[in-house]
């Protein structure tokens, strides 16, 4: 997550290549858009998955994000990174769905869903991921949203707040709360320093 020189290099290359692809896709090339999809689908889906904690919803969110991106692409000004722009759309999609549904539906955290999220992300580092993912799944949505954007996806509070439509101070407070809850719950489960 820390910016190494390799990441900087990769980013410089990707900025240039992505600009080409975005131009081509904005001009109508679905082939170029597919390459953009392949590059970003994993992260977009990961973000949707962690925010919604629900597999099917996350897949719908991912599809909707890319469809909206396709429509809006001609207006994309390259002021922000393309990935950040996609994530903004994804976050909006998730929040809009939450607002539409009755509150009790979004708060349901079935054990099956938590377990499947753990299974899908556990290939990375099974030991750490299982405990942490299950603990994240139990967080209330507001705290979890900020934790996902800031602590996992590396966004600054200013950006996360903008994406979530909250104040920067609220974002910081939610993150503090999320870490506090995680630490407590992980300790409760027998994980200690």
């Amino acid at each position: 997550m820390t910016g190494t020189s390799d990441d900087d290099l990769q980013r410089a290359r990707q900025r240039l290549e992505e600009q080409r692809l975005v131009e081509a896709a904005a001009g109508g090339s679905t082939a170029a858009f597919e390459v953009l999809y392949r590059l970003h689908a994993g992260r977009v889906h990961g973000l949707c998955r962690r925010m919604t904690q629900h597999r099917e919803t996350a897949e719908d969110c991912t599809q909707d994000t890319f469809l909206q991106a396709w429509r809006a692409l001609p207006g994309f000004q390259n002021r922000s990174a393309f990935g950040t722009w996609l994530h903004t759309i994804a976050v909006n999609t998730v929040l809009a769905r939450r607002r539409r549904l009755a509150p009790h539906e979004t708060q349901t955290q079935s054990l099956d869903e938590a377990a499947s999220l753990i299974a899908d992300s556990a290939a990375h580092d099974p030991a750490a991921a299982r405990d942490l993912e299950s603990a994240i799944a139990t967080l209330p949505p507001g705290a979890r949203d900020v934790l996902v954007l800031v602590a996992i996806y590396g966004y600054a509070h200013e950006e996360a707040a903008r994406m979530l439509g909250i104040a920067v101070g609220t974002s910081k407070a939610q993150l503090h709360r999320a870490r506090h809850l995680l630490a407590t719950r992980l300790a409760y489960e027998g994980v200690s320093a």
Binding site: Q10, R20, L21, E23, R50, F66, S121, A129, A193
Partner: protein, 208 residues
């Protein structure tokens, strides 16, 4: 839970928790490939004619696809790879010169380059220069010689273009020369990591 608010010292230090959070995977591949559904619902663009700049962007994106597929493969091993259909660069395309911004050409007279390309080229060159300084002399020489070979090749193509402006073969070769140089620079950079071990290993080689 009331105990959350009243919790005393955190049992796990924040630094360790933050590290653990930062190492969670950002990428989670969907269980099934969603592209087919998305592709079926992409509305066609109202204006089918591709502008001159658009053609170059498309051409460049096609040329870039190879490198990007490499990135894709590294990021998402299950991703389907393949050159987009209908993407062959043919000499039937209208002649387009890569004039997208005014900037002194690193490759020679008569060519102006896209600002984003120039910036990427500049970034890469700087990164590579500091990396090369730490490598054993022989490797550094090899890399510098070959980068010079590439620049010379691009200059030769440019010179030919001045004699035959708009020649599709030359424009295609020039576009690829630009892309190749960036690719080679980034490949060399990746292969000569600033891994402490690699650096120290090379230091040992220099002293022999």
């Amino acid at each position: 839970m009331n105990q959350d608010e009243a919790a005393p010292d955190l049992p796990m230090p924040n630094a360790a928790l933050d590290r653990a959070l930062a190492t969670l995977p950002q990428e989670i591949a969907p269980q099934r490939d969603l592209w087919a559904t998305i592709a079926g619902r992409l509305e066609p663009r109202p204006d089918p004619t591709v502008s001159r700049r658009g053609w170059l962007a498309l051409a460049a994106s096609v040329v870039c696809v190879g490198f990007l597929l490499l990135i894709v493969r590294l990021l998402q091993p299950s991703a389907v790879s393949g050159v987009p259909p209908g993407a062959t660069l043919g000499s039937t395309q209208s002649a387009v010169s890569p004039v997208l911004d005014l900037e002194a050409a690193p490759f020679g007279r008569g060519v102006v380059l896209d600002a984003a390309y120039v910036q990427a080229h500049r970034d890469l060159s700087a990164q590579l220069r500091s990396r090369l300084a730490r490598l054993p002399p022989q490797t550094r020489r090899t890399v510098e010689e070959n980068l010079a070979v590439m620049r010379h090749a691009a200059m030769q193509i440019n010179t030919a273009l001045e004699q035959q402006p708009g020649d599709p073969l030359l424009e295609e070769l020039l576009l690829k020369a630009y892309q190749d140089e960036l690719t080679v620079m980034s490949t060399v950079y990746e292969l000569t990591r600033t891994d402490a071990d690699a650096v120290l290993g090379n230091r040992r080689l220099e002293q022999l």
